[in-house]
Symmetry: C2
Subunit: 308 residues, 2 copies
């Protein structure tokens, strides 16, 4: 196999595109894909300030790296979720990347600022804190972006992530979620930041290849709390189908965005108002984050009462 750009021996194959690249040409193709997603979906311009949601993994760091390479103004933000050694190592990778490239990395420390970490937020029924962790991350990324005047929050969600989320929503016919899924989430309230996913057309292995070739030191391990998560089952199912039908994931996601989403009629427009507790944007009286914190506070009180 040879690089489709320079005919040198290829190092990276992109099977769904029937393409292959050498290590020298690949990063350019990758950044070009990012640039096209940003341009075609009108995600942001070079005059705007982007806040990249950083986890220390390959996707978020590859995204940050690519945005800088493309000349965008992008700062990072990391949330200390308090998930033991995993969090320590991902924080170190994020800080090292920022330091190496002389970048600004905002941080929120959950435990220090709010008194609890993600492992304490386990769902009673399912035993996984993944849903709560999502609420925590969405809340803080949005709040910091709005408070510090960023125009947009960019996340490292890739094709595999988006296809797996779509798959989960379709399997359960979550028509509300389906109507809202897409590479751009508009800000429909002054306290709501615009959310974009510049990697949504690049596969997980594409970003891994970019990170390796660009010598980005990311944390390889997956979050230990996510083991057995349904999203991983959906990724696995899609990966097997992709093996037999290269391009299936991309067609699944593109077909949804081009035809399925419209056929599903989109989500009903929701009214955003300010949370009665914290003032952050929400569709409810009290936001999901405040409700979660209240539940946690009551649990701790009951525990203390039972222990005394």
């Amino acid at each position: 196999m040879h690089c489709i750009r320079c005919r040198a021996p290829a190092n990276v194959e992109v099977r769904r595109r029937r393409s292959a690249f050498c290590a020298a040409c690949y990063p350019g193709w990758f950044r070009n894909q990012v640039e096209r997603a940003i341009g075609e979906e009108e995600m942001f311009t070079r005059q705007q300030r982007v806040l990249v949601a950083i986890s220390g993994g390959k996707d978020s760091l590859a995204l940050w790296h690519a945005l800088l390479g493309l000349g965008y103004e992008a700062d990072g933000m990391y949330i200390r979720l308090g998930i033991g050694g995993y969090s320590k190592r991902s924080q170190a990778a994020s800080e090292m990347f920022a330091a190496k490239h002389g970048l600004t990395l905002h941080q929120v420390d959950l435990k220090a600022e709010y008194g609890y970490a993600v492992p304490q937020l386990r769902n009673q029924r399912r035993g996984k804190p993944c849903a709560a962790c999502g609420t925590v991350k969405r809340y803080h990324f949005n709040k910091v972006a709005v408070d510090l005047g960023y125009d947009v929050v960019a996340t490292g969600h890739n094709l595999d992530d988006e296809a797996a989320t779509l798959f989960g929503n379709v399997i359960h016919w979550q028509t509300d979620f389906l109507g809202r899924q897409g590479p751009v989430l508009e800000a429909t309230h002054p306290k709501l930041a615009r959310k974009v996913k510049p990697l949504y057309r690049l596969a997980e292995r594409d970003t891994a290849a970019y990170a390796i070739i660009e010598r980005i030191e990311y944390i390889l391990e997956e979050c230990p709390m996510a083991v057995g998560a349904k999203s991983l089952q959906y990724k696995d199912a899609l990966n097997r189908l992709e093996e037999a039908q290269p391009g299936l994931k991309q067609r699944f996601l593109a077909g949804f965005l081009n035809r399925g989403k419209e056929a599903l009629g989109g989500a009903d427009p929701v009214t955003i108002r300010e949370c009665a507790e914290c003032g952050q944007p929400t569709t409810a009286e009290v936001c999901a984050y405040c409700r979660m914190r209240e539940r946690k506070r009551r649990q701790l009180e009951q525990k203390a009462a039972a222990g005394s």
Copy 2:
């Protein structure tokens, strides 16, 4: 594990329903499920004449057996597709079942009546005759049902079949097909038979268990032409997910029928007219079956010309 009806040791587990049955109670539960599907979806009554599409496999024979057990008037119809030994063995199983129970089995012989069999209908691009075979079967089951005055055609499509078809249509966002998928297909033209799927809520292993307990001698092998078919890949993917999330297939299909289909707005109503060639109902000027036969005829002519 014990039978939920009589507490005897269980022989069959229906995991998605958290149920188990002994061999004596199971057939009653199975037929009850068939009866409920027929009743709730208003498929047909005991005063109507049902034509069961018979393949010789477990699903169609289990369906025929269950309908008779429930007191319905059901004849069978078998199409000799000409797929070598597989067709010979499936024809024998179908004829044996009919003879054993003193039933009427109509037959259409493709090769004898039309000069070709399914293996000759390979798709040029994909090399599989599955799509053409579907056209052949739909055409003849419909024609025989209408010609002989049956009220409805019943097919043995089970939960796994329906979930896999739905999966394939969703993966490729075939919104037209999605709008038409369901357990009942109404007759929208005098020459179009009503189509129903009384097993659509029963899993493949449920019908296998029924066939074994009721000592139905069905053909075990799958069609050799279907090896590697995408529908089998989708079944495999769903089976793996079902392992991790029992009931997922049923929820996927039920969620579609209850919410997704409506959200997708249904298919645009199509106008049915009579084929200019054969007079059978179609949405086009010339029906898919006649177009296929015409292509086949031209191919054979070209071959003959090249050989002379």
